[in-house]
């Protein structure tokens, strides 16, 4: 089934519909729902990196006026399924990483909860731990986890296989006229959305759990908590209409939501408010794993690549494997008949890593594009020309055609807008005062995948308004606005008669806001529902709305073309980089990106997404680095003073086209 929509609202730079709420601070985030008779939870964390709890003394905490309960593994409710280390909490005395949840303090006020939390004493039996990733570790293992996201059957979290091999790589490298062999490393990164992982949980013996939480996918949270507690999903309602940033850290429900549910069960009927501190977020909500990536390239004398090899080692946790698609861009980007990609994991006594903006691709494309630049230099070619020369005609590994690939145009237009031709490639040539000045370029690619499990309902009322309902999320991506635009065009009406509802498990199911797949999956579901509604309204009812209104629900239709084409977005980014001659401080005063992203629903919000991604790229390259203390296993710089994310003055000229 295919749905065709004539764009009217689509393509318009509509202001964000929830904008007037957000600029006054009136959009309700998870911790802000007005509730009476509330209690507060403060989490307790393990103070060792590995071992087991041998004793708990909570007497001093319980004695504090206003303390309602202290939960530890000794008295926590039994979980129906404690098999997932990311979700389970307080189910055993084992400590798998420093900062793991080991208890909760529930009290009348936040101040009492936090004060009394410091009075609970744990005794531990420690064991030796390892928290530093080593690319030559004896423990390296091929990933064997089932994919969390994506449709493929491979071992990486997006469903791709861990290893791929084409042609005779070793032979081609040995025969190459020009060879490159380099290793690149990336550190641990933390998402750090401005809104902490917070919310309000209420347990009612009759109705079950109501959970306001900051989530990129309410239905995912419900499913996982239902499994952990052995509850029918209908007894859990998860609500999250506004999300203060997520970047991947609010896709999978983590153990803190399990803890919040336990806390709510400890004081039935009372809303329990919980919010991780900024420091706690560095150990409890996942992170981008550190990597070590060896890239070997071979080229002939004309600068055509003959061999591409990308061997990856990434950190994971002993308690649960996580492997991301760091080689994905390498599989897609450049032509070469002989190629190899491998992913290996170094399991450590650390928290489980998780998806973070461009999981895998972000770390992998850094290494690949660095190597391509170095290879261009080795071949004596301009980096833009080198990329153009190695542009593939079809997907280099699958052989399938691309649905569209405008990488060449992105490179050429970017070079023109940036003034790349005026550049002198010789290093250390230009100085402005104490600063050395240079330019660089990187190509970029990201898939256009679909996730299963979305449906939308549309109800047309006798008043002529359309209630469009889907459990999707707006994490700042503009969903409130863009889905309204899609619905308006699909129904052939104006945006002003659309009432969109998202972020609630009371609505039809939706895939999580991850993988850059939301607008595709949710928008297509809405189009399918709109087509059904129109079919009902016109042939069946002659265009007249019945007094009771009309309602339809439709699931996301399949896109059969996905099996026949490779679908990706492409782009090229050009940077002016300043390096301080004495301190080696890095600055990026100018960044120009040209992108091929397919149909744009709302140019204003889409441009903001690109600018945000580019700025986070500056932040990742220049500032972000979570430093783990090998003696204790915690992130030392666990706040915004120590973990700098790009501030306003770090960004100067930045353009997305």
């Amino acid at each position: 089934m295919s749905v065709s929509v004539t764009p009217h609202a689509i393509g318009e730079s509509l202001d964000r519909l929830e904008g007037p709420l957000k600029v006054r601070g009136a959009a309700t985030y998870a911790f802000e729902w007005p509730v009476d008779d509330r209690a507060y939870m403060y989490p307790l964390q393990a103070e060792i990196a590995a071992g087991r709890i041998t004793g708990v003394d909570s007497a001093n905490a319980v004695a504090v006026d206003g303390v309602l309960a202290v939960l530890t593994h000794e008295n926590a409710p039994q979980l129906a399924d404690a098999g997932d280390a990311e979700i389970a909490a307080l189910h055993s005395p084992e400590v798998a990483f420093r900062g793991q949840l080991v208890g909760a303090l529930i009290a009348e006020t936040a101040e009492i909860a936090r004060d009394a939390a410091g009075l609970v004493r744990f005794e531990y039996e420690q064991r030796a731990h390892a928290v530093e990733m080593k690319a030559d570790s004896d423990d390296l293992a091929k990933p064997d986890e089932a994919a969390q996201f994506g449709a493929g059957g491979g071992e990486l979290q997006n469903g791709e296989p861990a290893d791929t091999e084409l042609g005779d790589l070793d032979g081609a490298l040995a025969a190459a006229a020009i060879e490159l062999d380099q290793t690149y490393t990336t550190p641990m990164h933390n998402h750090n959305p401005l809104e902490p992982h917070a919310g309000i949980a209420v347990w009612d013996e009759e109705e079950g759990l109501t959970l306001h939480c900051s989530s990129q996918g309410v239905h995912m949270v419900r499913m996982q908590l239902a499994g952990a507690f052995g509850l029918d999903p209908s007894r859990i309602r998860v609500i999250s209409p506004h999300v203060g940033g997520g970047f991947g850290s609010k896709v999978y429900p983590c153990s803190y939501l399990t803890l919040a549910t336990m806390a709510a069960k400890a004081v039935p009927g009372r809303p329990v408010k919980f919010a991780l501190t900024r420091q706690q977020m560095f150990s409890l909500v996942g992170y981008r794993p550190p990597t070590s990536q060896r890239i070997r390239l071979g080229a002939d004398e004309s600068g055509r690549l003959t061999a591409i090899s990308h061997e990856i080692v990434q950190q994971t946790a002993r308690v649960k494997g996580y492997a991301e698609q760091i080689g994905a861009c390498t599989r897609t980007m450049y032509a070469a008949p002989n190629r190899r990609t491998t992913h290996r994991l170094d399991p450590l006594d650390v928290a489980v890593p998780t998806i973070m903006r461009g999981p895998g691709e972000a770390s992998g494309v850094f290494a690949l594009e660095s190597a391509i630049d170095e290879m261009a230099l080795a071949c004596g070619m301009d980096p833009v020309e080198f990329r153009l020369r190695n542009e593939p005609e079809a997907h280099p590994e699958s052989g399938l055609p691309f649905s569209s690939r405008h990488q060449v145009e992105c490179l050429r237009e970017g070079a023109m807008r940036f003034g790349w031709q005026q550049r002198d490639p010789a290093p250390r040539l230009r100085r402005e005062g104490d600063w050395m000045v240079g330019e660089g370029i990187a190509a970029t690619v990201y898939p256009s995948p679909r996730l299963p499990g979305s449906a939308a309902s549309i109800r047309l009322g006798a008043d002529g308004r359309y209630a469009v309902r889907i459990g999707a999320a707006d994490i700042g991506t503009g969903t409130w606005t863009t889905l309204t635009q899609i619905a308006a065009d699909a129904l052939e009406v104006g945006v002003e008669v659309i009432d969109l509802e998202i972020g609630d498990t009371a609505l039809p199911p939706a895939s999580s806001a991850g993988f850059s797949s939301g607008i595709n999956c949710w928008g297509t579901s809405i189009c399918a529902a709109a087509e059904q509604l129109r079919a009902k309204l016109y042939p069946e009812h002659g265009g007249a709305v019945p007094v009771d209104g009309l309602e339809v629900t439709a699931e996301m239709p399949d896109n059969p073309d996905m099996a026949n084409y490779e679908m990706y977005s492409f782009g090229a980014q050009f940077a002016e980089v300043h390096v301080h001659a004495d301190t080696r401080e890095l600055r990026v005063p100018r960044l120009v990106g040209v992108f091929d992203v397919g149909r744009v629903i709302n140019p204003k919000t889409a441009r903001s997404q690109l600018l945000g991604g580019m700025t986070q790229g500056i932040s990742m390259a220049l500032f972000e680095d979570s430093v783990v203390d090998p003696r204790f296993g915690h992130v030392v710089n666990h706040d915004f003073a120590g973990y700098h994310v790009a501030a306003n003055a770090d960004v100067q000229t930045i353009e997305a086209h």
């Binding site: 202001d15 964000r16 929830e18 904008g19 007037p20 709420l21 957000k22 600029v23 006054r24 601070g25 009136a26 959009a27 309700t28 985030y29 911790f31 802000e32 007005p34 006020t109 936040a110 101040e111 009492i112 004060d115 750090n192 959305p193 401005l194 809104e195 902490p196 506004h242 999300v243 203060g244 940033g245 970047f247 919010a275 501190t277 900024r278 994490i475 700042g476 991506t477 204003k604 919000t605 903001s608 997404q609 600018l611 945000g612 991604g613 580019m614 700025t615 986070q616 932040s619 706040d639 915004f640 003073a641 994310v645 790009a646 501030a647 306003n648 003055a649 770090d650 960004v651 100067q652």
Partner: protein, 168 residues
């Protein structure tokens, strides 16, 4: 230990009892239900909790409520005049100066306070001429003066022109 205090919040006098350990931010959000200022870090490092405290911008997470008995607090909600948004608020919408919106009320209070500081001739770290009459709020000045307010969605490239439009 509890204390009785009075705050004037967005033009309305409010009496409340606070735990003496309570921050001004928590007093606003938890005791008074004024959730316009946000909690992002609780350490004065992100700026999401910025309010105008007795007319000047301040991070309310680093202020103890009990120390501000009698204070005048204006949040982003209080900048609205009837149903009319403050010019900064309209400019943030027009320029898409936010995505998730969580840092936004703090950004807007901070910008309002910053415009007053510049008007009063206060220099910043990037002000070249300390003897000049008045400050010219070019983009560099705005970026510098707004760097206490983090935006993880990274809307800076839109925040600067939004503020510049109101400043000029």
């Amino acid at each position: 230990m509890d204390a009785e205090i009075t705050l004037r919040v967005d033009g309305t006098e409010r009496q409340l009892t606070v735990d003496t350990r309570m921050s001004l931010l928590d007093a606003l959000r938890e005791s008074l239900g004024v959730t316009s200022p946000k909690k992002g870090c609780d350490h004065g490092q992100c700026g999401a909790c910025t309010v105008l405290l007795d007319g000047r911008r301040a991070v309310s997470c680093l202020a103890l409520a009990v120390a501000h008995d009698g204070a005048e607090v204006v949040t982003a909600e209080g900048l609205v005049d009837g149903e009319q948004l403050h010019p900064l608020q309209s400019a943030f919408i027009e320029h898409d100066g936010f995505q998730c919106g969580y840092c936004t009320p703090g950004q807007i209070c901070s910008a309002a306070g910053m415009l007053e500081e510049a008007e009063a001739g206060w220099p910043s770290w990037v002000t070249e001429d300390l003897d000049a009459n008045g400050v010219i709020l070019d983009d560099e000045e705005i970026r510098e003066r707004m760097s206490g307010n983090l935006c993880r969605c990274a809307a800076y490239a839109n925040i600067v022109p939004a503020i510049a439009e109101v400043a000029r």
